[in-house]
Symmetry: D4
Amino acid sequence: MFAPIGEAAHLVARLDIGRAARKGIPEVVLADAKSDEQVIAIVRALLASSGCALVSRLRPATLDHLTHEFVETGAAVADVRRQAHAMALHAPGYVRPQTGGHIGVLTAGVSDIPVAEEARLVAEEMGCHVASLYDVGVAGLHRLLGPLQTLLTDGVAALVVCAGMDGALPSVVAGLSPVPVIGVPTSIGYGAGGKGHAALLAMLQTCSPGLTVVNIDNGVGAGATAALIANQIAAARSG
Amino acid sequence: MFAPIGEAAHLVARLDIGRAARKGIPEVVLADAKSDEQVIAIVRALLASSGCALVSRLRPATLDHLTHEFVETGAAVADVRRQAHAMALHAPGYVRPQTGGHIGVLTAGVSDIPVAEEARLVAEEMGCHVASLYDVGVAGLHRLLGPLQTLLTDGVAALVVCAGMDGALPSVVAGLSPVPVIGVPTSIGYGAGGKGHAALLAMLQTCSPGLTVVNIDNGVGAGATAALIANQIAAARSG
Amino acid sequence: MFAPIGEAAHLVARLDIGRAARKGIPEVVLADAKSDEQVIAIVRALLASSGCALVSRLRPATLDHLTHEFVETGAAVADVRRQAHAMALHAPGYVRPQTGGHIGVLTAGVSDIPVAEEARLVAEEMGCHVASLYDVGVAGLHRLLGPLQTLLTDGVAALVVCAGMDGALPSVVAGLSPVPVIGVPTSIGYGAGGKGHAALLAMLQTCSPGLTVVNIDNGVGAGATAALIANQIAAARSG
Amino acid sequence: MFAPIGEAAHLVARLDIGRAARKGIPEVVLADAKSDEQVIAIVRALLASSGCALVSRLRPATLDHLTHEFVETGAAVADVRRQAHAMALHAPGYVRPQTGGHIGVLTAGVSDIPVAEEARLVAEEMGCHVASLYDVGVAGLHRLLGPLQTLLTDGVAALVVCAGMDGALPSVVAGLSPVPVIGVPTSIGYGAGGKGHAALLAMLQTCSPGLTVVNIDNGVGAGATAALIANQIAAARSG
Amino acid sequence: MFAPIGEAAHLVARLDIGRAARKGIPEVVLADAKSDEQVIAIVRALLASSGCALVSRLRPATLDHLTHEFVETGAAVADVRRQAHAMALHAPGYVRPQTGGHIGVLTAGVSDIPVAEEARLVAEEMGCHVASLYDVGVAGLHRLLGPLQTLLTDGVAALVVCAGMDGALPSVVAGLSPVPVIGVPTSIGYGAGGKGHAALLAMLQTCSPGLTVVNIDNGVGAGATAALIANQIAAARSG
Amino acid sequence: MFAPIGEAAHLVARLDIGRAARKGIPEVVLADAKSDEQVIAIVRALLASSGCALVSRLRPATLDHLTHEFVETGAAVADVRRQAHAMALHAPGYVRPQTGGHIGVLTAGVSDIPVAEEARLVAEEMGCHVASLYDVGVAGLHRLLGPLQTLLTDGVAALVVCAGMDGALPSVVAGLSPVPVIGVPTSIGYGAGGKGHAALLAMLQTCSPGLTVVNIDNGVGAGATAALIANQIAAARSG
Amino acid sequence: MFAPIGEAAHLVARLDIGRAARKGIPEVVLADAKSDEQVIAIVRALLASSGCALVSRLRPATLDHLTHEFVETGAAVADVRRQAHAMALHAPGYVRPQTGGHIGVLTAGVSDIPVAEEARLVAEEMGCHVASLYDVGVAGLHRLLGPLQTLLTDGVAALVVCAGMDGALPSVVAGLSPVPVIGVPTSIGYGAGGKGHAALLAMLQTCSPGLTVVNIDNGVGAGATAALIANQIAAARSG
Amino acid sequence: MFAPIGEAAHLVARLDIGRAARKGIPEVVLADAKSDEQVIAIVRALLASSGCALVSRLRPATLDHLTHEFVETGAAVADVRRQAHAMALHAPGYVRPQTGGHIGVLTAGVSDIPVAEEARLVAEEMGCHVASLYDVGVAGLHRLLGPLQTLLTDGVAALVVCAGMDGALPSVVAGLSPVPVIGVPTSIGYGAGGKGHAALLAMLQTCSPGLTVVNIDNGVGAGATAALIANQIAAARSG
């Protein structure tokens, strides 16, 4: 029940673990609980160490601040996604990878798009091709079936499905698709079960195996996991 | 904010309200929080006053007790629904009404059937014809679409849809049907949102107008409301 | 537990479902989680396709925006309900239906009126006549009994009852009325059970059969369901 | 924010507080979280010190155990209330007080009676006359109004009102009565808001001033407070 | 389970209830969920009917609005309690009653004072003398014991005790006092159990009989109940 | 917001979706909310249609019942996992697939093993090789690091990590591993956050991208998703 | 945000951490979520490695099983605490340490004693002298003040205070004592905030600095921390 | 169950408790629920009585107000910690104690630093030396192990560990350290379990004995307890 430091280090020291296998998931800076100064300092460090920094949950002023600090000075090129309140910064010379991974991102409604776009940015930074299919909630099955079939035929390796309110879309999609589905509840909806809580619980209670879940509005986590799966498959295919 | 009895009675006394319009909803005795003696006393009173008594949430021993007390003595004829843990008792000579009302009762899974059967019993006691369609959850849309269309073509006036776990079926049905849908969350499912709570919240968060909700496992309330709607329509049609 | 798209489509394709029966519920645009640009785009599409658009949960600026975009340009005529933070937009030449349906809308207090007015607008758009009876909470039974009797005598087919705080009014009304009652908890009340949560739970726990519930502040859902019932009855009567 | 013992005792020591005014509330032993041995030891001590002991939430075996230990040995006379799962034990020669206090105890349904009887026993032990009025829930206003008026005319000083499910009765009674009302939610009801939680929240959200609340199933606390009020008034009246 | 209006009215009409006994609790207008126009209209009606109106949870602008509308025009005299965000308005010639009732109001901390002052205003409007004892939380027992003894010796009939955070004071006071105690949780405290929720639950879980509870921040309800008790006792004493 | 059946079917009918791509996830029968008769009927149907049936959450008596019905009659061969309360039944001649997929299953403690074993059974039924690593919670990092490294070197495509109480292990594992991690909260732990709720929330709040979550004790969902990923990769590698 | 194993091990390997300082907290086996076989296996391993094993939350049958396996065979000597549902097992020759640490354990009521005894056993195993003071809840301050002063004068280094229901005692004790207090909510109490939840929240909301908290019924954690503090002080004093 | 004041005082008066042992924890004024006037009055009183006042949860305007009132007038010297929204005020001539106590304060992320700094200020006011180690969350174990070992080697007597989101760091640190650890959940994180709730629950569910918890963001309570422990040890050491 208790391992004092010395003992743990002793054991670890004997390991022959070899070379680190990198996940290829970039650091993502959650800006909303940090001061602009903290965000800028972390971004600077990331650009220096990896050539690339993702920032999510940006206040508009922080976005301006970052633009002023890095883009206007030429220290970085920015890929800004205003709808997602997110941006990617790339140091000069940094080239975004192309892994051959392919995923799809769906939303039930137009209000879910910011979260979907956050997922898309992360997956693109990880080198994936991302197809999006928005506003196809279960209340309109006719808008879902055909385009979903097209996505699957195109060979997406995983699907990110964003839905608020009753959160039914991910279960329906997982029931129809032969690939892993990552459900993202969004903070849409009011009253009992509002702000994404009913959606989260409904996804956790799904009858469709193959559906796993991330926290409400966590587009970053969903996009990163989907890309991780897609990149593994792309590597296996080419490997 | 406060109306002492005298004043309220004074006002009420001046009302000329006329003849009571009866809803035609029978008293339903919830047996599980009552002693057998209490249940028997209430059933006896109901049989005497209205010729009919419904009892739900029966313990097996209470069912035996009631059978012994009323059926074996010839004091009543019983319509027992074991799956629903419910029964209807009719005094000799009591004739169940036939209103011409028509409703449908659906379930997402087989575990939801007891609640559906409770709804069916109440609606039948209220004189409705009840069509049932069980185990047609959203994970298998192909089992739902055809039979639902048949129900609608047959002219059901309202649908009771029972679902536990993610509770998605009522929303899907309401999105596909031109009649009022009453969602009944069932206490199926475990973990976060289990025991019907996710299902309830998902139904409250529905995007499908035309869906209203009763409490978890409240088959009685759903069946009574659906029958009330169907009976009104039948009366209007014949009226 | 899992139906891949192809199989579902295969089954669906064999169905002979015939002509779509329309519910007659207009699309309602929830404006609060959308940008003005999104709201305007959706309204434009709805006006083009159906001649009518309902918008609820309007920010004041969005209301101005819509007025500027559609009313001042003559693209639509607006029926604005400021108390309800809602509006209906009708394309030139659009005529609101008159179904002969008749419902009543009640509130426990004056603070519940915005939700009631939202329900009223939807039901009116669906062609119903709507009678309202506001500020008749259970603390003053003398204000309720007479006017409720008048409503029932006038032949309302369903009642929408809005109440916050202890949410007792819908149960009392359902106990007194031979028609279906739709309870709408409102986000009135503070402390434990505040913001409509006690009201919702109390309505779910009702002893009055015939009462079903929608989510907190969901005037749209309640109005649409009540109108659906009333329109069915009107059709049966005339039919 | 912090007062070490010495300092507090120092201040307390200087107080000249005089004779303790006794509330006259007997000790009540909650038996359910104690072993039989603990219950017996506490009862023995109470009988020795005050001549009287109340025990609530009795397991049947504990009741037998107490009867064997105290009643069969002549160590005490017992007033057993089986419905309430409670009993009072009086040492030989102990005479229950008669204060002239007068209260009423109401229930919404028959399932609430055990809690009401617990309240009645405590109030009787405190010397009050207790009138009871059971099964008068809001779904049947006609069963409530007349008998409540009789209670008030008889001069009850306070009312204990027990209700589960939607918990509406205490608010209605408080709206109709010129005396303090103590609401007791009972653990009746299932699903969302079940086990008394909706009832508690609804009582806390009441619009009727004059209503205060105790915890779910706390008949002891409600009975004791009502008797305290009634005894104060009886004392004031007599002088 | 169901009483249609006609039947209830029929029964009520036969009652001979006599003259309404008035509780003497004034109407209190919760201003925060109403528009200024609604508040002014209600106040005007109350002044006309009873000569007196209490308004709580006032926005500063609403207070100004009311002052402008009623005080500056001479339509009423105002007793403003800024700390309590409340005011009483009296029509010219209205004389506040003096019942001889006597209560005490305590707070655990200085942050609880606004709620206590709301309780005090209501009780004073109901004719009571109100003694206050603020900032005497359990962390400083030495500040509580002496002054509480003085209150009790002075003959208070009931105590209102306001406490946030851990809500321990009402239990301690009820354990020390021979009069009914009404606990008011206040929305003070952050984190788990914050905003008064821990305080409410702790008061509901009290071991001290004689303590009843109102909702978080409900100074109005607590003050009204305490005054009701005190006025009954004063009436009995003088009667 | 509403698509009547006819219209949806119309659209669907025009789709040319082609051959269903199968996920290869077997139907899993949750036995605990079904009667033995229902379970047996479903198993019989599954054996007939697919040659294989998985049953989870078995009561001991249901397990005996199934054994008697299918194994003793030679209708199926059973792979019983008592720790997991689960079994797989295979019709004679059914050969479990071998996909070449490879996953790892970890637990924080020994109490989490039943859930892990449920995941393992599902993944093995789907053709995966499953390596297990149990009782390696964060309180003993020295027990985790080496064996985890071995798993990763062996080429697992995904990890299922089961943990109750504080649920920290999945985050730590996801932080150390370049493959997708599926966290399964287990219903271990008591008090606040007990029964897996703290574990679930902690996993949802993870800082480690690459971690997704299923509901408490949902070994089936986690195992199926992990196997889905592993099988995709195996197919890509061989393909 | 992500450290693959190899990199972490690399860094750890360079550390020169020296000799492990042992906390001296014995492993405690939570028996309730484990099979008897698992408990016996773990106890055997602990006895072999450290000469001592603590087992808590014992089912009676598991206790018998352990006694049969270890005590009757002479493999260990047992210190059984039936009230605490716990036991310590010592291999022959094992001598419990005597650290000179000194703590106090208090309870509010007799129902809290099992948790307190669990804390006492752990602290005694860690070598502390433990003074206990039971049934001194805030409803009887006179039973608390003197004995608490005696404990403090005797030099306890820390206090464990166990309380259910309103959980007020730890705050009062922390307000009166110059040593750290560890509050243990116990699962005593019913209704809202029952099973220790109100007690936990009240302790978290305490105004008394110097009070920290463990989870409901976690006597082990409280006893271990108090002993850790006391042992440090004893070591410093002697050192 | 009830001790009237007189009796309690009587008992207390007989105690011979001697000199108050002071905890040495300064009063901390929570500014956020108080008006500036209240804060200033309390600070003035504290400066007069003890020479020192700590103020936490300062609004910027209140900080300015206090500076203007006390610092600019020379009435006090201020130690302002802007990140912590806190300040200490010392009357002229007041000398902060130096106890020789030594603690460490850790954070999982940069967003947790304000809470950590609040803890640090309190501990420094109590005379401790405080070492800080920030941004060492479990996602990067390599940043934690070495510096933690240094802290322990330096002889810290207790550790305060602040973490939001999944709250895993305190458990990991407690598993690695031979001194008491005080976990402080911080209100970082969104969605389910956000604002520190998952972190609190995870800490309460810890498997690491030696970890106790304070409420979310309660840096004051954690710092005070850690300093209390450290000061006791320093006193014991010096002897």
